[in-house]
Structures are given as structure tokens and as C-alpha cells.
């Protein structure tokens, strides 16, 4: 999770920043699902053989969150493409220098 955060902050490439965001999200998902685990339990599909199930509620929340996360990263990628169209680069420093030039 922290690795994703570091990627977001330190990398200059905007596509890599989007990837960092996705990694950050996925780490939180893994944490949530780990809360749902019950030792000796099985997947929450009712059968006669099992006597303990893992908690289905976090699973549902994470299902929703995964799909929303993909929507978020799609929006981020569209933003990156638009930035590339306008500036012809997706490196943060180069865009900054372009901005400074246009101010002068």
C-alpha cells in the first residue's frame, strides 16, 4: 500500500501515477477481504458439508469497490491521454517548464 503511495508521489510519468493509484486501492481491498476470513471456514456458498463460512459482507463491498476502481482508473487514463494531446508529453517536469515558458 505504501509502495503505491510512493509511486504516486515520486514518479514523474502520469501513467505511472495512475498505476500507483490502482495499487494503493488493491492493497486496501486485500486488507478488507482479510478481515472476512474465518479459520476452517469455506467460501460463503451454502452447502451441507461446511459448518463455517467466511464473512460475505466485506466481499460484497469489495466487489463494488473493484468495479468502481476500474472506472476511476479509466477516467484517469482518459485525462492522461488528453494531457498528452495538449502538451505532447506526460512527464510532470516538462509540463511545468512548458507552463513557465507560456507565462513569460
Amino acid at each position: 500500500m505504501v509502495g503505491g503511495l510512493i509511486i504516486i508521489i515520486t514518479s514523474q510519468n502520469y501513467l505511472k501515477k495512475v498505476v500507483g493509484l490502482a495499487i494503493f486501492q488493491t492493497a486496501v481491498f486485500v486488507f478488507f477481504v482479510s478481515l472476512a476470513k474465518v479459520l476452517d471456514g469455506t467460501a460463503p456458498i451454502l452447502t451441507k458439508m461446511a459448518n463455517a463460512y467466511s464473512n460475505p459482507l466485506p466481499h460484497v463491498l469489495i466487489l463494488t469497490a473493484i468495479v468502481v476502481g476500474v472506472a476511476t482508473s479509466a477516467l484517469g487514463l482518459a485525462l492522461v491521454l488528453q494531457i498528452y494531446k495538449n502538451y505532447e508529453t506526460i512527464e510532470e517536469k516538462e509540463i511545468e517548464s512548458l507552463e513557465l515558458k507560456s507565462d513569460k
Partner: protein
């Protein structure tokens, strides 16, 4: 014990993948590593008995999102080997956050404890009743579509809005900046 060993192995693989995503500059390998990352995550979900989540992660997370990223990376230029920015403050921030998280995790109930508070409220009723109500053995489906149907409706609205945003961004060509920067570039030449 076996379960913990597998989990430990998979999570250390995740860390390795994250490190290589951090290091590589070529965009297409970043995208491929991200696909590997999400696939590893779905393996972890299977290990944690969350099969539905694993399905979704493998299909949506490592399928659709990797396709989207490949499509974006194909249009973008190759990544350059630039210096990392803000490295020092980000490391301080990361260490601070991980310390806070470790302190919090130490106070959580143990992994897999069946008497943790999360397993005692609402969920036992779901597990007991849902089969009589909906005649579907999969409890996750029951909760997703019936008990919490409005959540799922909200999710669809979010995805719809995101889709509208993507279309609006990709089709708009009328930003003023564009002409500005193109002119600047020509002047330089």
C-alpha cells in the same frame, strides 16, 4: 499453517512486483506488471475464501483494466528515465503511515478469529435466512443483489458517470491551450 505460508509467499511476491513497477520506466512493462499484480491479488482472494471477489478481480481488475492501460500506453510515448521527484518527503510519509497502520493492526482481532465483532452482527442472519428468502445458495449474490441492491444501483450510476466523463474527455478537442503550446513549439524551431 499451510494457509499462512501461502499467504506470506503471495504477499512477498506482491511486494516484489510493486518494487519493479516502481523501478521500470518502460510504460508497457509497467502495464504488464500491473496485470501480474492484480492476478496475484486474485490468488490471495482465493486463499482467503473470497471466490467471488477473486473472479471479479481476475476479470475486471486484471482483464479490462489491463486492456484499457495497454490501449492508453500504445498512444503514449515511451517513458523517459527522469529523476524521481520528492523522494525524501515521500519516504518519511510512507514510514509514518506504515507505523500508524501497524499500531492499528496490532489492536485488531487475530486473522481468522470466528468470534471477531465483524462476524457476530447481521451476517449470521444473512447466512441463515437468505436461502429461504431467495433460493440461491451463494450468499454473496444474495447480499449484492437483494439486501444491498441500492448499493449496486449506486455503483452502476458511478460507472455510468465515469463512462460519460471518459467520452467527454476523449472527444473534446476545443481546449485553448493546445494552439498555444503548438505555436510555442514552432517558435522554438
Amino acid at each position: 499453517m499451510n494457509f499462512l505460508l501461502i499467504n506470506f509467499f503471495l504477499i512477498s511476491l506482491l511486494l516484489v512486483t510493486t518494487f519493479f513497477i516502481f523501478k521500470t520506466t518502460s510504460l508497457i512493462s509497467v502495464v504488464a506488471l500491473t496485470g501480474a499484480f492484480t492476478l496475484l491479488c486474485s490468488a490471495i482472494y482465493v486463499n482467503l475464501d473470497a471466490v467471488d471477489v477473486a473472479f471479479t478481480e481476475a476479470a475486471v481488475g486484471s482483464g479490462i483494466s489491463t486492456i484499457l492501460m495497454v490501449m492508453a500506453a500504445a498512444k503514449l510515448p515511451e517513458g523517459k528515465k527522469n529523476k524521481l521527484i520528492n523522494l525524501f518527503p515521500s519516504i518519511i510519509l510512507a514510514v509514518a503511515i506504515s507505523l500508524i497502520l501497524i499500531i492499528i493492526i496490532a489492536n485488531l482481532p487475530l486473522l481468522g478469529d470466528p468470534n471477531a465483532p465483524i462476524h457476530l452482527h447481521v451476517v449470521p442472519e444473512y447466512l441463515k435466512e437468505s436461502k429461504d428468502f431467495f433460493h440461491i445458495p451463494n450468499v454473496v449474490t444474495n447480499i449484492l443483489a437483494s439486501y444491498r441492491g441500492f448499493d449496486t444501483l449506486g455503483e452502476t450510476i458511478v460507472i455510468f458517470t465515469a463512462g460519460l466523463g471518459v467520452i467527454a474527455l476523449l472527444t473534446s478537442n476545443t481546449l485553448n491551450r493546445k494552439t498555444n503550446f503548438k505555436k510555442n513549439k514552432k517558435n522554438e524551431r
